[in-house]
């Protein structure tokens, strides 16, 4: 399998090759990484926005106020209003949990499914492995975005269907990754020694194999988070995700796109936030990768 499927996909980043002695003292190293620090700060900010956002909205985000339509940023509407007079700041705050939350939810689900299916296939071997991996092979014949479009086409638009489509599009990649990591871990000297000593498979799985596989898969998921945020907002922009009148950054771009020439704040506010969240996720992912699997420069 190529390590480069991310270019085909919603969010399939390549798996970094970890150096063997990953130590527990990870945080000091991570915090020493400038990009990671910046990403972490941005991420905290955006997470706080996603959690607290709906409670902080100065105006009711979905109520039109035609008298105040298309007002530029000012004292009462800090980020201006849209064509129906809804407060952009309120909508941006209210939409945060849909944009960021949906992407995180999808990746968490994919991570869980991939980890279970992959380690199961890798450890059980035999026909279980054969069946699961043929299924994975079939799902992966289509590029992730195309598969997601197909699933939405069948299920119809909507946030829940979008989540389902994105999970279906990318779970197979993570399952295959987890399986190959498990197979590698099975051959590691510490696992062989435990097997020869008569340690049971359950304890080998939880003591030796799973922690490493889960960590590596989690790094990959973090690297994929940016792509997933872009995908959620992109699909919502096309009207295939979050439905009106609810706010989501991509959907906000779509509903106001014809007013951009006269009201550029309608473009800039959601665009900046999408950019910032993808950037934060990328910085976090790259920081984790650089720390856990630095490139060899002999």
């Amino acid at each position: 399998m190529s390590a480069l499927d991310r270019f085909a996909s919603v969010a399939r980043p390549p798996v970094p090759a970890f150096r063997p002695n990953t130590s527990r003292r990870l945080w000091p190293q991570l915090l020493g990484h400038g990009g990671f620090r910046l990403g972490l700060a941005l991420c905290m900010l955006l997470l706080a926005m996603a959690i607290l956002g709906p409670a902080l909205t100065p105006f009711e985000p979905n109520w039109p106020d035609y008298a105040a339509a298309l007002q530029p940023p000012g004292a009462s509407h800090w980020l201006g209003t849209d064509a129906t007079g809804r407060d952009v700041l309120s909508r941006v705050l209210d939409g945060a949990h849909r944009s960021i939350g949906a992407a995180s939810l999808v990746l968490a689900a994919i991570f869980g499914i991939g980890l279970v299916v992959g380690t199961l296939a890798g450890l059980a071997g035999g026909w279980i492995d054969l069946i699961l991996m043929r299924l994975v092979d079939v799902v992966m014949t289509l590029p992730g975005l195309v598969l997601a479009i197909a699933v939405i086409g069948v299920l119809g638009p909507g946030l829940f269907n979008l989540l389902l489509a994105l999970i279906l599009a990318d779970w197979a990649y993570y399952a295959r990754l987890a399986r190959s990591l498990t197979l590698t871990a099975r051959q590691r000297p510490d696992v062989l020694a435990a097997r020869m000593a008569g340690i049971g498979w359950g304890r080998i799985l939880f003591g030796h194999i799973l922690p490493g596989v889960a960590l590596q898969l989690a790094v990959v998921a973090t690297l994929g988070l940016g792509g997933m945020i872009a995908a959620v907002s992109g699909f919502s922009f096309l009207g295939l995700g979050v439905q009106p009148p609810y706010a989501e950054w991509g959907a906000m771009l779509a509903e106001s796109r014809f007013y951009f020439p006269i009201a550029p704040w309608l473009l800039l506010a959601p665009a900046t936030l999408i950019f910032a969240s993808v950037l934060a996720a990328n910085l976090l992912g790259n920081g984790l990768r650089d720390t856990l699997a630095p490139r060899g420069r002999s």
Partner: protein
């Protein structure tokens, strides 16, 4: 051509056929999974609003929908290989001809975007490696970080706002002609090239840090010799693989770009089909995308096989 190479190529071709078959199985499965009765939708499309039972039974038999699923798949596959992708629920016209009408525009857009991003990322990563650690490298790294964080559709909206409307370059409404392809293609290229430049720069640096590059330097080779003779051929293999696979991403991203630039390709047509629940068209789009993806990976694998002798062993 050595026997090893021939059998490796043959093996890869056989694998591509299998993959295409698996992909078409997945594509076919969309229709039985989709809600609604395809027969009734087809009559609707033909403006027969209340077909009688005989008409329904006849069409059902013609489409093999009265048979068990494996037979349905076989029937569908045979029809597809004959170029019959059923008819659009909306227009009643054959899906294949509807898609083929719009394919040239999409090919033009994606083809020029692909060429542009390959050229751009090659250029930028060679500059970055040649000035590794100096300001051109840092500037390019900054570009790749920002580019990777800006989704293509957001960049496209910004381009439309500030280049087309603001600066008056290009047109808001495109008609799919070659004279107007530059701006949308460049937008895709600038965005795609960010990720590719990161990748190619890293693999060029890896290849330059490899022992064989050090040996060449120790024999008196210039840095340029090492970069062009050793790093580039070795570093380009993962780059090519990425390109092959990203054909899938390009096609998957086509609808949103075509929608923003009002580009009359199959992506925009797909969006109309999506909102009308026009399943045969959706299926046709997915099939064409899947097959292009399989084909692109095949071509890339064959090229890398020619570059790297170690890949010529039969799988």
């Amino acid at each position: 051509m050595t026997p090893g190479l021939a059998s490796a190529i043959f093996g890869r071709l056989a694998q591509a056929v299998l993959t295409a078959l698996a992909a078409s199985m997945l594509v076919w499965a969309l229709l039985p999974l989709a809600p609604g009765d395809p027969v009734l939708r087809i009559f609707e499309a033909r403006n027969i609003l209340e077909p009688n039972d005989l008409q329904i039974a006849n069409l059902r038999a013609e489409m093999a929908l009265d048979q068990p699923l494996p037979n349905q798949f076989a029937h569908w596959l045979i029809r597809v290989t004959q170029g019959d992708l059923s008819v659009s629920y909306r227009t009643g016209r054959p899906v294949l001809s509807e898609l083929l009408d719009r394919l040239p525009a999409t090919l033009l857009l994606l083809g020029s975007a692909l060429a542009g991003s390959i050229a751009l990322s090659l250029l930028l990563s060679i500059i970055a490696v040649a000035w590794h650690g100096k300001w051109p490298d840092r500037a390019i790294m900054l570009y790749t970080q920002l580019g990777a964080a800006l989704p293509t559709f957001v960049l496209a909206l910004l381009v439309l706002q500030y280049v087309v409307v603001g600066a008056g370059v290009g047109k808001v409404l495109a008609n799919g002609s070659a004279s107007l392809v530059l701006l949308p293609a460049l937008t895709i290229a600038v965005d795609r090239a960010a990720g590719w430049t990161q990748l190619l720069r890293a693999s060029l640096l890896d290849a330059g840090a490899a022992n064989h590059a050090m040996v060449a330097r120790a024999r008196g080779a210039t840095p340029r010799y090492v970069l062009l003779r050793h790093s580039l051929p070795n570093g380009i293999v993962p780059f090519l693989t990425a390109i092959g696979i990203s054909i899938g991403g390009l096609i998957g991203g086509a609808p949103i770009i075509e929608e923003i630039f009002t580009w009359p390709g199959i992506g925009r047509y797909l969006l109309q089909a999506l909102s009308a629940r026009d399943y045969p068209v959706i299926q046709g789009f997915v099939l064409i995308s899947g097959l292009s993806y399989v084909g692109a990976s095949l071509i890339v694998d064959l090229v890398t096989m020619l570059i790297d002798p170690r890949l010529r062993r039969p799988a």
